[in-house]
């Protein structure tokens, strides 16, 4: 009984705080990746819209010039 208590105590104090560090890094890597993909998607969508907007404005401007 005493031996069991002592051995369980020894096991508890012997816990290595770094034993699951690979999960820690994996967790943070995935979270940052999700965030960065979202930021990149915002930037890409904005770039595409800007291109579309410029094209439309050019077409309408050409039309106005032809009309005048």
């Amino acid at each position: 009984m005493t031996l069991t208590i002592l051995s369980s105590f020894a096991l508890q104090t012997g816990v290595d705080p770094n034993q699951f560090n690979n999960y820690l890094f994996l967790g943070y890597a995935v979270m940052w990746l999700i965030g960065l993909i979202y930021v990149a998607s915002l930037a890409m969508r904005q770039r595409n819209l800007r291109r579309d907007l410029d094209l439309m404005e050019d077409i309408l401007q050409d039309g106005d010039q032809e009309a005048s």
Binding site: V15, D16, P17, N18, Q19, F20, N21, Y23, L24, L26, G27, Y28, V30, M31, I34, G35, Y38, V39, L42, R45, Q46, L49, R50, D52, L53, M56, E57, I59, L60, G63
Partner: protein, 249 residues
């Protein structure tokens, strides 16, 4: 207003969010103490709780946008709701994935169909379906109205996700306002980690939640601007199409 350029407030908020996230990371890794039972892997908890919290806030903002649209029928509220749901989904995805990665060393499994995890999956699917609904309705006014009703009803899944671990037996720890449930869970061997053990942990969690809230605000402004840019492009596209039809005839 030139929508293709970031305005001053958005730029300031973007920088503030980036600085706050950096500070949060430093706090998590260099200030927060090592948790006794789980060791360093418990540090996932700060981003996990922060992202879940801010995800819920985003859906609350979307609910507000939905209610306001039904009251005023103003397009800006629909824009707020759609931007907020999109960002909420990103934060909720972060919370789900980080929870799963934490679950592997804590529960020895990546996933469990416990009440909390089942409810959060339902919430994620409900909000993902919001975009399917929007894609299925062509008329702008009808789309905005249907989406407003849908986003209000969908918030029920967030409430149920929050309540699930407080009313049902669950392996998921209760961190906020659940001392009794945590103690009960621990005594039943359901939960080995009950949340915040020290003041330093509470401070770190608060710093992370503030950093995520700032990130949410920055993303929201950027996403709203993007939606306005989309609307402007659509308007110009219809003008160009009218012009080209006139040319052809």
């Amino acid at each position: 207003m030139d929508l293709t350029r970031l305005n001053r407030n958005t730029r300031i908020l973007n920088i503030a969010a980036a600085l706050a996230l950096t500070f949060a990371m430093l706090t998590i890794f260099f200030y927060a103490p090592v948790e006794q039972t789980m060791g360093n892997v418990q540090r996932i908890f700060y981003f996990h709780v922060g992202s879940a919290w801010v995800g819920s806030l985003a859906f609350l903002v979307a609910l507000f946008g939905g209610v306001m649209f039904l009251r005023q029928a103003d397009r800006k509220w629909d824009t707020l709701a759609v931007a907020s749901v999109e960002i909420g989904l990103v934060f909720l995805s972060m919370a789900i994935v980080s929870g799963s990665v934490w679950g592997k060393p804590a529960w020895n499994t990546w996933w469990l169909w416990s009440p909390r995890l089942t409810m959060v999956t339902i919430a994620w699917l409900a909000y993902a379906a919001y975009f399917m609904l929007r894609g299925a309705v062509d008329d702008e006014e009808r789309r905005a109205r249907f989406s407003a009703v849908y986003v209000i009803i969908s918030f029920l899944t967030i409430i149920l996700t929050f309540v699930s671990i407080r009313v049902l037996r669950d392996i998921h720890p209760v961190v906020f306002g659940g001392a009794m449930e945590s103690a009960q869970g621990a005594s039943e061997g359901l939960q080995e980690f009950s949340g915040l053990d020290s003041t330093k942990m509470v401070i770190t969690l608060n710093v992370t939640v503030i950093a995520f809230t700032l990130t949410f605000a920055a993303w929201l402004l950027n996403r709203i601007r993007l939606q306005r840019l989309t609307d402007q492009t659509q308007l110009l596209k219809s003008r160009v199409s009218e012009y080209l039809q006139g040319e052809a005839s």
